[in-house]
Amino acid sequence: MQRLGALLRRSQGDAVLAPQLLRTYATTQMTIRDALNSAMDEEMARDETVFVMGEEVAEYQGAYKITRGLLQKYGPKRVRDTPITEAGFTGIGVGAAFQGLRPIVEFMTFNFSMQAMDQIINSAAKHHYMSSGAITCPIVFRGANGAAAGVAAQHSQCFAAWYSSVPGLKVLAPYDAEDTRGLLKASIRDPDPVVFLENEILYGESFPVDQAVLDKDFVLPIGKAKVMRSGTDVTLIGFGKMVGYNLKAAELLEQEGISCEVVNLRSLKPLDREGIAQSIRKTHRVVSVEEGWPQCGIGSEIVSIAVEECFDDLDAPPERVTGAEVPMPYAANLEAAALPTTDHILAAVKRVMGK
């Protein structure tokens, strides 16, 4: 099983191998919630400087129960409930990281991180550079990002584009339980500040995980995308929940004779530009799929890569599927209309295929 883990780690460059291995050897189902919980638990057991801080993380076991059981196991010094001040507890986490601890700061949702934005960008992200390496900030900011269900404008924004534009931050967006475990453990062990974008809707969803993923030292490399499904006609690129939509669309399109390669970005900063370009050069067509707003979104960067680095290999203009350019409405029908669906992905693929 250790060899399997090593194979998985080394095979990131040869991405065709990994998903087949997982399907063959999958033995357990694990929810995203448990993936997050087990990753934090193992890292806290491994390194006593790791601690968790946020609103409701301790006594309440987490607003979404992600930190369930951690207070009981590690005590109130390492699992801290905070007063309601994102700017405050983010700044405190940053200061603790400056002083040698490894905080995991939970935002109840990344929407609330806007109140701590200065601490994340001007303090956590920039201090290593401004101090020419004298100050390090090994902190992880994690929480729910993007649209949930029926929580409207101030609880549904996707922050992938904003955070991934900042030098000094690493930004990760897991999809399944393997991503979640491997990337969160890698984030906690990383010396740089990491923004870890989860999705509330996926918390309860189960994914197959094999023994290698359950290993307490299972980490995934930061900065590498994963090919979830190999294909030849078009590359579907997404992160987080949209990877699931892309996989579903790929299945439907296969029945129509269109072979889609589904790329799971995993890492938004550093972005696996070479991996993305490699896939686009192979299929000659690309559709980027994201929930966030269109202007200056992740899709804009994907299209730039396609045009700047793969222009001669493109058989069709790149396409983006994004959320509607409105603050998220509340009414269920309006909310559904504001977000991408598999149908939108199918339509975009058919357009690039010229069908």
């Binding site: 700044g91 200061g95 200065d118 290593h128 020419s132």
Partner: protein, 464 residues
Amino acid sequence: MLAAWRTVAQRRQCPRAPALLAAARHLASQTAAASTQSASVAAEVPSSSSGSEPSARLLSSSQQPEERMDFPGGSVPFTAAMSFLGGTFSPRAPLPCYRTIDSAGLAIADADIPHELDQETAVKMYKTMVTLQTVDVIFYEAQRQGRFSFYMTSSGEEATAIGSAAALTNDDVIFSQYREQGVIMYRGFSVQDMAHQCFGNIHEQGKGRQMPIHYGSKALNFHTISSTLATQLPHAVGAAYALKLQKRNACAVAYFGEGAASEGDFHAALNFAATLKAPVVFICRNNGWAISTPATDQYRGDGIAGRGPGYGMASLRVDGGDARAVYNATAAARKIAVEQQVPVLVEAMSYRSGHHSTSDDSSRYRAAEEMRQWRARDPVARFQRWLVDQGWWSDAQDTSARQEARRDVIKALETAQKAPKPPLSAMFEDVYARMPWHLEKQQAEVFAHVRTHPDACPADIPVK
């Protein structure tokens, strides 16, 4: 009471009248049967089958009057008197200002001096003040001459910075705002170090990343200055929390101005430090001005020290122009923070004698008379007078110290100005702990471009 309820029910034709009457009767019988129990008694109000009557547990009013309200945050006494506290109608008396040396520099009799200043420390403090004053004057002029882009003096606040620095140990982690160069100088940051930083040359630790006066030194436990106001306050609390978990005999110290104390981070940091029981000393330099905003426009309460008790924090106001008082206040605050593992707030009252920065001209918004009055009680002069009275300093020593400082500062500037700038390669380093491949690629592109277009890179800037 029963009669009253009956009347009310009848008058109002209340549909719940029968139930209310029943409740009142029940209460009356409880009252009649009351004993001298001091505990509150819950009386069940019988609910009728219709379900519309309330079934509430009512505390009996027949027992001893309740004295206190217990609630999730604690316990407070009740009162039947209504009396607002604070504000213009019932202002609280301001916290008095602790001092041990008067405006002329004469020691005040019977002042509390829990931490005596020994000669060596006092002389080191004063010499640092002399150097600081010299640096401030000459560096300010250098900026005016265009030798570097920006400078901030700390005239009028030398005693606050140096008096407090002298009371700390080198294990205490310092987070400052931008007007505390006296602190890092006292710890050992040399005039040459300061000059290198202002010129952003190859010798400065910051590799030319930061604008002038943003000093920092890991070796001296002084965090690199960050321009965003008050963000250092929660940082200090976090660092203090780390020290607490690491069980270190040290505290974090956060310096800030009275203007920065208006930021949300101030509230979050102080409130949170108290709940976390973090060993941090907050030192506010209340110098009366935030650029052109006087303190009267910055707040209406009792300054910054007046806010401390609101957070449950021990607070002291001190004369920031009295170096010996600042020394004692800081030493005492540090002792509380480290021994009791709680935060402490010190507000040092002083005056910003200079402009906010080289981008400011304070004569546009301040009265010359006000500035003159404060210069007349200059903190350095006051401490000098006290030193001389102790027999630890003389005018001759003063003249020679100032001459030597002037020579050192001018030489430091010249040396720094001549030193080369950081190489182009330094631009991409330190964004992350290890350079990721996408920055390596960009760096390689820049080098390639410079090789083929040498004019693109100024001659005095090395590439690697």
